[in-house]
């Protein structure tokens, strides 16, 4: 295997790593499901992976996130307490919502329930983890899980807020959508 570098794709202030290696769609799905830690994030500004590292990283990505420390990428285990088979979920709730406004010390959001109704919520700003700060903006979608868990035989009250990553379009996807839009526009019977 060659040792050429695979350049990740960078997007604004949140650097979502997308290696574009095999089974991209599966990887994308994992990124979407980042709440459970099944994703790849790079906190660095100029990180890269070697081809040698990328596939192994992909294979072992379940339960890991990738972070950059001291200028290089390394894998950091991320413990998914509520997906760990040894964890007992006594009583918990996972909700999805989005940020409606950011105040000085807190932020407000709207949280949706399974029955289609929603609640207004306000959290302290320090509820947002450091790794999610680049994604923390008005309109950003987040998950809130809270409840009572038995983790390694210890009962704990847990609350965690995680922000959703949406894999950006690659050029091919973008072009294909533009073609779809142009065809639709031509077919519409405008006045």
């Amino acid at each position: 295997m060659s040792n050429t570098l695979v350049q990740p794709v960078w997007y604004e202030d949140a650097q979502l790593l997308r290696t574009d290696i095999d089974e991209e769609s599966i990887l994308t799905k994992q990124i979407d499901d980042l709440y459970s830690g099944y994703g790849l994030i790079d906190h660095g500004s100029k990180g890269f992976l070697s081809e040698q590292e990328a596939p192994s990283l992909y294979e072992s990505s379940k339960g890991f996130i990738v972070s950059q420390e001291l200028g290089y990428l390394r894998k950091i285990p991320r413990y998914n307490y509520y997906k760990d088979p040894s964890t007992i979920t006594n009583d918990y709730l996972k909700m999805k919502g989005f940020v409606t406004s950011i105040e000085e010390d807190s932020f407000k959001g709207r949280l949706f329930s399974d029955d289609g109704t929603y609640e207004l919520v306000e959290f302290e700003k320090d509820s947002v983890s450091e790794e999610d700060l680049p994604l923390f903006k008005e309109g950003a979608i987040f998950y809130w899980i809270f409840g009572l868990f038995t983790i390694r035989k210890q009962r704990k009250k847990v609350s965690e807020i995680r922000f959703q990553r949406i894999a950006p379009l690659n050029p091919n996807e973008f072009d294909s959508l533009m073609d779809k839009a142009d065809k639709l526009n031509e077919a519409i019977d405008w006045d």
Binding site: V121, A181, L184, I188, D189
Partner: protein, 374 residues
Amino acid sequence: MGLKRNFFTLPKETEAEITLIGTGGGYGESMVVRVGRNWIIVDSCINPKTKDVLPLQYLEEIGANLNDVSLVICTHWHNDHIRGLSHILEVCENAKFIVPRVNDKDKFVRFITLDSEKEAKGGFSSIDEFGKCLELSVSKKIKVVRASSNQVLGKIQFNVGGNDLGEFEIDSLSPSESVVAHFDRELGALLDKRFSVVSVPEKGPNDKSVVILIKHKKFSALLGADLEVKENQDQGWHDIINNCLMFNTKPVIYKLPHHGSQNGYHEDIFKNIIGDNAILKLTPWNRGSKLPELEMLKKYREHSTDLFITSPVHNNQPRPKARSKSLHKMAELFSKNLSEMKFELGIVRSRIDLSDSHPMVSVELFGSAFKVAD
């Protein structure tokens, strides 16, 4: 809907109808209008629990024929005005689809397609609903009409039993030329949002809202959508106050814009257009900021004592949704505030017999709707 018996009646053949449907909380609003034998649906909202499309449910429950729906109007593509709209287009086979005007159709459809894709990946905005409507317009061969200021959207002859009762005219009073031109320039920047990894619900289509005027001889009704008063004199309500050519009588019914908010009010709307003592209808907004504010309700009451709202504005102590005791405690422990937004269906219905030489407008209230008193 669990409403009074007299709810389930069609208007008389000679009656026009202007009905406002609200959901409390900010889940949405819609209007249903009867002109001659035709129905017009302005915007759409759903019951968040059952997903029933409320204007369709209303029409079905009073026994209306959905083939008589001739116009489906999307005043703008905010979540609380659009949910269920594609279903309406699907079942109302004879309707034209009215949307706010855009000149650069290519860019606009690209923008809608891109944002729809983004929403499909897990967003909350319902712009994909608008995308579905455009796709349906192709598959169902529905004409898409772009509405803007000083435009006649349709004329409907009103004949009952061989008697000619005149003609209805449906006009759009906005968006203004200035807003349309500005949006064309804005579209380029919106397309660049494709690079964002954060899904951000679209902001700001209020200024593109289509305000509708329904006219029949001396009767007219003004449906204010969510149009706001902008600083620019040729945008928003200023443009209507200064440049509208469509009024020939003072509207008897006025659906207040943008949930009766301060930014939808200008005294010249009443001074130059509405006059006093019209029937005023509105829906509240209970998300975050509460609308209408008490001060605005007082102001509107100065213009008319016939002020009706589809459900209360909740300023009471916020309460979270009912859950198990332990979850309830933890929700309070981990959040600063948590309050449930309740779905409350309220309907303000007006009917007017246009065969009368001095027609009276009736107001019927259903569900959580009520008249605002001092």
